[in-house]
Point group: C2
Chain length 422, copies 2
């Protein structure tokens, strides 16, 4: 892609009410647009990063047997009344709306906008799960969630509308569930490693609800996190403040003096649901011995947008965003300095060669931007490699290469550049 053709522009104008670093940088770089507090549009570069994260998650969900589907946002009231989750007194994040009726606009039945999908998927599975032979089922989606948050000041890390990956497991027994739950946990660890957050993300013990002692959160250490966790560096685990009790510490075989209090953001969670939803919605199966049993469920969530925001918060420096290579929208930011025929030919040629070799290149071919602007944009956008072509680099038939995370520049010939970035 040529910068002259990319419609987004970098800007210094960020909405005055935007306080979060992640949204400020992403708006400046033209990755997102703020529609209102907690509601953002993803522009081409931002959508590419989001899709790169989604693809990593998809691959790991497929690797543990996940089957992808897509459930609706509009949800009928009666379904959620069956599980007791319709009432605004109990669930305070609903957006609700109404169908049309013959009497006029907004006079028909009440509908909810899904903030989760346990009800919809559990009800649907009654058509597909009848026998133990139909189990297990692991189904997941990347689907918009609507959550009517009272406050939303963390940029794309806590939104009123956002894409979520939610997987739900349906198992024959608690034992089968426990095995899959552990597989899901390992898949999550891989996901956070692949997107670059492995080092600072901890499997965190949190409250488990009715059906298990703990749930597990994946907490990434960051000063802007809304959660407090106690980290055990040696065991690479953490404990959420909500279950930070002497009893839990004893359970986990750790002591207070081994733990360090940190701020963290919950980038994922996995939860054993037991028969909470299958009981309410009557999802049963006939086991091998002919008896009728209740399906055992689990749920497994990750918000790709929150992961993206966390990555910005963690890696950014005073010059802008720094993307890990795996999820960057482009691998190379190719800067052309000068307008001579020789420079044009050399830069165009390298763009072509890199593209042919399979590297994703954002080519700053602008004639009306100064060198300083181009370098500033390269840094702000956070592309892993910056390659410069200029009269100066032409002299020795070389190119100037700099990694976004390093200060030094390297002079390389064409083959070396290609080798470095492909």
């Amino acid at each position: 892609m040529k910068v002259s053709q990319l419609f987004t522009k970098t800007t210094k104008n960020v909405p005055a009410d935007e306080v979060s670093k992640n949204a400020r940088l992403l708006i400046q770089a033209g990755y997102i647009h703020k529609e209102m507090a907690g509601v953002y549009d993803y522009l081409p570069l931002g959508l590419t990063v989001l899709n790169n994260i989604i693809q990593v998650i998809r691959e790991e969900m497929n690797a543990i047997g996940g089957q992808e589907l897509s459930l609706s946002s509009l949800q009928p009231k009666d379904l959620w009344e069956k599980t007791g989750r319709w009432d605004d007194e109990l669930v305070d994040i609903w957006f609700k709306t109404r169908m049309h009726s013959g009497e006029g606009a907004h006079q028909g039945p009440e509908l909810g906008l899904a903030w989760s999908h346990e009800e919809a998927l559990t009800a649907l599975m009654r058509n597909h799960i009848r026998s133990y032979k139909d189990l297990p089922v692991y189904a997941y989606q990347f689907q918009t969630k609507f959550r009517n948050e009272l406050r939303s000041k963390s940029g794309i890390m806590r939104c009123r509308e956002f894409i979520m990956k939610d997987m739900y497991s349906f198992s024959r027994s608690q034992e089968d569930h426990d095995v899959f739950y552990e597989q899901a946990k390992q898949a999550y660890i891989k996901i956070f490693e692949r997107v670059g957050l492995g080092d600072i993300t901890y499997v965190t013990f949190a409250s488990g609800g009715l059906f298990s002692k703990f749930s597990h959160e994946f907490q990434t250490i960051t000063d802007v996190g809304e959660d407090t966790v106690y980290v055990h560096e040696g065991k690479k685990i953490a404990i959420n403040k909500e279950v930070y009790t002497d009893e839990v510490l004893a359970d986990l075989g750790v002591t207070k003096d081994e733990l360090v209090e940190k701020r963290a953001v919950e980038v994922g969670n996995i939860f054993s649901l037991g028969s909470r939803f299958s009981d309410s919605l009557d999802l049963k199966f006939t086991d091998a011995d002919g008896t009728e049993k209740t399906v055992i469920m689990g749920c497994y969530g990750i918000g790709p947008g929150r992961v993206m925001g966390t990555i910005v918060e963690h890696f950014a420096d005073d010059k802008g965003i720094v993307w890990p290579e795996n999820i960057a929208p482009y691998k190379v930011y190719l800067v052309r300095l000068g307008e001579s025929e020789a420079v044009l030919a050399e830069a165009d040629g390298l763009y072509e060669d890199l593209t042919k070799a399979g590297a994703l290149v954002l080519y700053d071919d602008r004639s009306d931007a100064r060198a300083g602007e181009k370098f500033a944009d390269a840094d702000l956008l956070g592309i892993p490699y910056r390659v410069v072509v200029s009269e100066k680099t032409l002299v020795n038939k070389q190119f100037e290469v700099k990694k976004r995370t390093e200060q030094e520049v390297h002079m390389c010939d064409r083959d070396a550049v290609i080798k470095m970035v492909v």
Copy 2:
């Protein structure tokens, strides 16, 4: 994918209130689930078909310079008031909701759920379009639209919630717009050819609004269509009933006796917007001569779900769905008949070989399904090729191959099967 692992089951139970052929067949085959009238979930096979259609559209949008983004569903009232499209008296398909406020649930500002995105994108472009050098811009998305339809009885062809591809063009002048509008029209023709509807889809003249004499619809001939069009077979065009006047006929150089009245469904449309939205939302640019001008816009829509429903309606026979090869969820339905070691080895081996050769295979490896069930499912699911492995086919080391659209079966050896389906 093995059928024994696919969680969806085919069924004879279709909701009693489902009258449309497309939804009845897609529910029977386990492609979709009905959440409520006009609201459907896409199950794994259905999501794959939908994504195949989306990918065809994406490729053609990129080929004419489109840049993909994703705009929010939640929309602020004040933005739509500026264009006069907030009022329920004027736009009768809004779903509306409210934010939380300190006073409690659903007491805060009113929000709309986007049924289109002209307002959001035009407002956003003010940050990116200032000079003639920033034009043209072609931006598109695949995003959920919410439309509060009073009636919704056409299955996935008219939904209250559905994915739409909407592209918007921003041009420097009417002349530039006209050139791109024609490119978009050609791209649409290619899309409908690629998904298998080319023969029965007509560029259709429809009312154009304030800024052009006509808009263009892409109308696919089908008995369940909600529109009436007049088809000119020789010119491969049609005229929507709404503009079927002597004046228009004279304009287009056709006479009544050359036209045939047909029922059709609008699978796409392209529309010149002129300065309708750029005026209301103040999207201007400075031209080369220093004068300030209004950006000229167009919009270009296709509903991939409606395309999918139309394909089902058109190609299905009394045995089930028939997918065109380009968008089928799998290319081959591999049926194993019998449980002998020889049959198992042969079927497993062919599954592996076909998969390695790049064919997408749905392998009916079920031990507890009879031959009749397997054949019925192969037909119902509409997979283009059915390949059978049985004791009988083993005798000559061959396989039985049948196309979904043909009656005859062919006996082929392994290489011939692979050559046929890859």
